[in-house]
Amino acid sequence: MTELYKLSIHEAGELLRQRKISSVELTQVHLERIREVEPKVKAFTLVTDELALQQAKEADKRFASGENLHPLTGIPIAIKDVICTKDITTTCGSRMLENFKPPYNATVMERLNEAGIVMVGKTNMDEFAMGSSTEHSAFFPTRNPWDLERIPGGSSGGSAAAVAAGMAMGSYGSDTGGSIRQPGALTNLVGLKPTYGRVSRFGLVAFASSLDQIGPFARNARDAAILLQTIAGQDPRDGTSSPTPTQDYSAALSGDIKGLRIGVPEEYWVEGTQPGVVSAVKESIERLRELGAKVNPVSLPHTKYGVAAYYIIAPAEASSNLSRYDGVKYGYSYRDTTDMWEAMEKTREFGFGPEVKRRIMLGTYALSAGYYDAYYKRAEKIRTLIKQDFDKVFAEYDALVSPASPTVAFKLGEISDPYQMYLQDVFTIPANLAGICGVSIPGGFSEGLPVGLQLLGNDFKEDTILRIADAFEHVTDYHNRWPSL
């Protein structure tokens, strides 16, 4: 039973409930796997092995008492280090919060703890979730398990790498412009960004509050459904969480997508997308057709403004959100002066890394007098146009399909120009601006590296995109492949 870490969550859950394996056994296998491959992958900012074993024992007690158990009870899970965990460091990949221990749990953590998960650790990320490669972590870059010379995507690169390498059975990340879907694509996982408001943001350290959502990484659609179900739903502590009832995501996985109308946005075939990505995605679209979906080209005419609008709106919100890091209340604090302003400026100079500073600067500039109308207000109007594009298309279509990322995983240090890095999210950003849901799924390989297929669904249509993802897995085996580590 040395390969227990290769089980899916739903398979492991079955074995746990039948008491064929124990959670302690399952957890030990994962901790052993962490000892073996983590030195190469570097997915974690913190491995919580003692806590994990304690939670596993608790889970086994629950199994022994025959309590009404949750599908995640006793399952080893990794958490992105931007989600607050009570009394456990939550660094956001930043020197600023290197020693920060939140006094409370995020709502998502409360729900996961109630379900009885085993938390194996907190995962590495681009600082404050700003980046597409995890190279902007203040601590160290994370490596892609499929090729250790390459990045795992970002900003939730640690959460993706942990699941892809078998160090956790599932994980959670956050997606502001593609930070779940792009790393999911680059590591051969299912990475889902829920509809804005589907999941509580309470206790998610804020980057861009009108865009941020927490979502899961899994190795298949059925596991993703379980992971989403556990965290979905309204929360009185997040005024933007939606009262729209959640669906039964597992029950939605019928395997049948006959007659489903799937659009292929013409504007998503952009110059600069690698030929290997294009051919894998086109082949995957054929599979959807063979499954009986009605696939047709559609147009989202304002797509070309997406990245530019996002790089005004997200930095503007970030510059406001990150003004809280002033060295007074918590976090890194420059002490070597008695001058209040100098202390604040030096705290932020030494506490933040280059990408965070760049975005604070960009956001402050876009919001400053004389530029507000030309940049911020205009970007928000374009956001309306992008949303209207989706509204029109979703009046006639159930879902959209596209590449998740223009490239496969690139090498560490390969992209040094900030704007080139921003273009990694060209296909994922529009969904955040519009608030709709999206998922990246294993969609083939190009030169041995995973290619992600993105499925976009209308507001609160997570059930539809997961149904397509699951049906796709019935006719492909990409999701079953493992990296050799």
């Binding site: 804005y196 304002h302 530019a308 007074v328 932020r348 600067m361 205009r378 956001r383 309306t384 608030g435």
Partner: protein
Amino acid sequence: MIDRETVKNVAKLARLGLGEDEVETFGNQLSAILDHIHILQEADVSGVSPTAHASRLTNIMRADVPQPSYAPEVLLANAPDQDENCLKVNAVLEEA
């Protein structure tokens, strides 16, 4: 084009200390990024109202009932400096 003076002015607005080399680098990088973002000026946005967030919810209220809060020592546990259950900061007002 973002010149050095603009960089320094924006950094001051953000209370963000920058090294001399960063002033140079950010000037060049922000100029390049804004060149790309210039595409926004091409879009026809006449008569379009802005979208600030995607939730389409407005005025979510909760019952006005007091809830228990945290003990001061819990909230101050991460404070860089404290005194008598208060955050300790540098003098805000200059001495005359």
